[in-house]
Subunit: 209 residues, 2 copies
């Protein structure tokens, strides 16, 4: 797939690296395409390049929104016309002090993203486990889950594959509004990591029988 | 332990049965102690009895709040003085149509319960998996987790044991305010069960390595 990754931090950088390794064409959209930060990320990536958000998104079928929440709206709106494109929302609307979420209950970051890009097919994914565990999601013989939700079946099928490409076990949890439930789950992962001092070696799994 | 279970529906009835089987002394607090519903529950329970909330709570060290959310405040306030007692909040503040939660983001059901019983030691537990899976929490060789949170270490230690008594794997997720994250997780369990038609044979697990 042709993928634009908006943001080259731990989430975007890791997803870009893993997807490029699986043969996807990856272009980063960043505020400073010739800056040191993105250059460092590109060094490990076969054939990936960096440009501005609009150019990155223009040639992509899939756009992965991997910015911090405070700049997510700018990133989406600077990406231009996203009609028909798949927009993966990997953000979490975290309070600056990690004390909780700033969006929730009656809406979600994902639904806000959908509002900013009404013609895109938004899928929430990659938010419920740390980027450090992408590509390394095995816990013994089990794989941590990569929960995702969205309203477009074809978009979800594509994202399911992109989740599997990062070693996470894709688990469909329904419509986009269920991001209201995945974002608090992400906050729980983060709280356990930071405030309860569990580190980053944990992940959630939905057991079934 | 001497346990008062407020509510004798699927959650309270099941917890009471499992705890009685482990040798705990169980008293149900219900609006109609001689009604058919609670009589049915008591039939399977060795030595358990039913009375009103105040009498049930008076002789108990542990009170388990297992009512539907709309009557939870009445149940707590009718239970009398809960100073120093352990109050397990097993509720979820569900919208009537199961479309979401009616409390969250900046507070939680558990924190509201603490407000109604300021001198009780509130621990959130038993809300993130269906009552049908209590006592039957094995998924192959794995056990689904019984997440709990609270602010009193001794109360949490007691609740940890009561969670283990129902076959769930006790997992401490920090202070009571993290009920803001467990209640959406419960909503996710319920949404998967009801709206995504997964049934009730699922449960969450925190993988670690």
């Amino acid at each position: 797939m042709n993928i634009a990754v908006l943001g080259a931090g731990s989430v975007g950088g890791t997803l870009g690296r893993l997807w490029a390794a699986k043969g996807h064409s990856v272009t980063f959209g960043v505020p400073d395409p010739s800056g040191d930060k993105v250059k460092k990320v590109l060094k490990d990536l076969n054939g990936a390049r960096a440009t501005n958000n609009r150019e990155a998104a223009a040639s992509a079928d899939v756009i992965a929104l991997c910015t911090p929440w405070p700049v997510a709206q700018d990133a989406v709106q600077s990406a231009g016309d996203l009609t028909g494109k798949i927009l993966i929302d990997a953000t979490n609307p975290l309070a600056n002090d990690l004390s909780g979420l700033v969006v929730g209950l009656t809406t979600s970051a994902a639904e806000q993203v959908q509002g900013w890009a009404p013609r895109a097919k938004v899928v929430k994914a990659f938010n419920t486990i740390g980027a450090i565990d992408y590509g390394n999601a095995h816990f013994g013989s089990l794989r941590a889950d990569g929960f995702y939700c969205g309203d477009d079946a074809a978009a979800k099928a594509a994202v399911k594959q992109l989740i599997g490409d990062t070693d996470l076990e894709p688990v469909d949890v329904g419509p986009l509004r269920n991001a209201r439930l995945l974002e608090p789950l992400a906050m729980l992962w983060i709280d356990l990591a930071v405030n309860q001092r569990l580190g980053t070696n944990h992940g959630f799994k939905l057991l079934r029988r």
